[in-house]
Symmetry: C2
Subunit: 340 residues, 2 copies
DNA sequence: AATTGGCACTTGCAAGGGTCGAGTGCCAGA
DNA sequence: TCTGGCACTCGACCCTTGCAAGTGCCAATT
């Protein structure tokens, strides 16, 4: 085993021990717990080198070493092996998710499942409107000058809005409008709907154009405004267990978890479902989250990821286990959505 | 001023000082800060009596006194005067809530507003399905054997469910079913809908009854299952600020705030919008919430409260301010709902 | 050149001990 | 019924000390 290899092995051991014990780890404990075939003094030299390179640090002079964000990054990228889920966990995923009745249920079950599996805070984004397509648009007259617009997407998501019309409308007009909207919108993604629906009012007589514009305008604004999607959060209590660790940082963290805008940025842009991404500590560049790591994965029925899910926890988390859990849940949810 | 009156005055002073300083309050500090016209020794006697009666307690022998749950209860019931909101707060309520575009928006704005005003965790129940009435039921065919059921209530709430039919249906059947359901359901409360819709299948031919039953069954189960309403939570981070106080109790508290079932029980049965209710510490009889008080108020457009809102905080909270804030927000939201 | 054992050094942490001060309860006197 | 005085209790704080973990460096060994 070459020297560099051993240094990496030492880093791996430090990360694993530190994650397990939550205490700075020294050279002696390291040789005791892991059967590296060398003496503590040798390890000390390696540790000094690792510290020079910025992978580990000591909280104070006479303490053991603690991994830095950079150290965790190296660990995640090159040292961790995928930890397969236990069969109990696998079963938990199935039984937990198979009972879901609709999209809302899938999301709320998923977020609770993730929180429970990882014992951390979980975040699940509702499938993004912007990447899904329209399955149906329904117009319901509530009053002569009031129409409910219901938008149904191919992911099963439903959005509704009430429109006050500039003038009274009758069933015939609404019926025609419904038919025309669906004719141009069904099966299209949202960007396409936006342009195609805008051209609709030309097909109607001048006296109806204001009404048509009110309805299509609402539809388009629903597409745009709700573009910033909803997210579900669970397991914030799990973070309190690490209370000591975050110390006084807990409050901004909890606040951040309530800010959906922040969460969406956190979940980031999901492009394809497969790879699980990890953002560690300061890589987040998000004020309340400098002491946390975020493990995310895209998910969705097809090749494209419609949304993201992930967990938020302390940087000293069990990365292999968390990555495996997030990946497995994302794959399973994707399968469920595809079957729908 | 009679002796009993002074004892109550002492209790009031203790509660106010303790809430302000978060530290046990002694006899000397009491006479200094409040101009009771007597000496510390006299206060001590009163305090001893109050302690005998269980209104206050000392954490340890040589410390000052702290109110007990019973003491807070007496304070809330008889000693606290309503603290009018500042004009800034009043304005905040208006500007914050007036921009709401739909029911979801009203609820999410309300919960954030409450959290901000009281600097505690806020909980708002969505207007209860069970007490509202049906405004419209819409059926949308998604596929020959698949129908989307959309339920719209008079509070503007929309619930949807997808039904897989036992056999293919055509537009005519769905149209007739839609008409009949609306004929018997619109304007009715949910209990009535449940019975009246059940009788519907008799009006259809035997070959369609299974289809009708599938749709009406789904409708009814939506009424029942979604009966347990959704709640919105905000401001959990505010609780972390009291971290020391709750000590290790923070985790179960956060967990409880994620359990919607627990929250709904906490919000309790709202019967009429007006009175603000306060549950103090052990009165909650809810495991994670023994160190917290809950201030709730019903709200709704009419005389009957459709739902509840409230805040959760430490027992040592500013009761007059919190009660005023919750009451004012509840009244304002009720007004908004009535105007809708 | 890499590894190792030894050794001096640093430093946080826990325990012990002493002082301080806030606060109490009680009692005698007004 | 109230008040001043007094002895007492007990946690908070500070300081010291001993301890143990862990380090860095160096000379010796392989």
């Amino acid at each position: 085993m070459s020297v560099d290899d051993r240094k990496l092995e030492v880093l791996r051991a430090i990360v694993e021990d530190y994650v397990a014990t939550q205490e700075p780890v020294g050279s002696k404990a390291l040789v005791d717990r892991h059967h590296l075939g060398v003496s503590p003094a040798t390890i000390r030299n390696d540790m000094a080198a690792l510290e020079d390179d910025g992978y580990i640090a000591q909280p104070h002079t006479s303490a053991g070493r603690v991994p830095t964000d950079k150290g965790y990054r190296l660990f995640v990228d090159r040292l961790s092996t995928v930890k397969p889920l236990s069969s109990a966990e696998r079963r938990a995923i199935q039984t937990f998710l198979d009972g879901a009745v609709d999209l809302d249920d899938v999301v709320s079950r998923t977020v609770r499942l993730l929180a429970q599996l990882t014992r951390q805070a979980a975040v699940v984004q509702y499938p993004s409107l912007s990447r899904s397509t329209v399955r149906h648009v329904e117009l319901v007259m509530l009053a002569p000058a009031r129409v409910l617009v219901v938008l149904i997407t191919d992911t099963g998501r439903v959005e509704q809005r009430i429109v006050d019309l500039p003038a009274d409308a009758d069933d015939a007009l609404v019926g025609e409008l419904r038919a025309r909207i669906n004719a141009v919108a069904v099966g299209q993604d949202f960007a396409a709907v936006e342009t195609r629906v805008a051209e609709l009012s030309e097909r109607f007589g001048p006296e109806d154009r204001a009404t048509v514009a009110a309805v299509t305008g609402t539809l388009v604004s629903t597409l745009i405004e709700r573009h910033e999607d909803r997210v579900a959060v669970a397991g914030t209590g799990n973070l309190a267990r690490y209370g000591q660790e975050f110390d006084h940082e807990l409050e901004p963290l909890l606040s951040a978890l309530e800010e959906h805008v922040v969460l969406l940025r956190l979940l980031g842009e999901a492009t394809s479902p497969t790879p699980v991404r990890v953002r560690i500590g300061s890589e987040n560049a998000q004020s309340g989250l400098l002491a946390t790591s975020v493990v995310t994965s895209g998910y969705g029925p097809g090749e494209l990821a419609l949304a993201s899910m992930g967990v938020v926890g302390p940087t000293r988390m069990d990365y292999p286990g968390t990555i495996a859990a997030v990946g497995a849940v994302a794959r399973y949810v994707s399968k469920i959505l595809a079957a729908h």
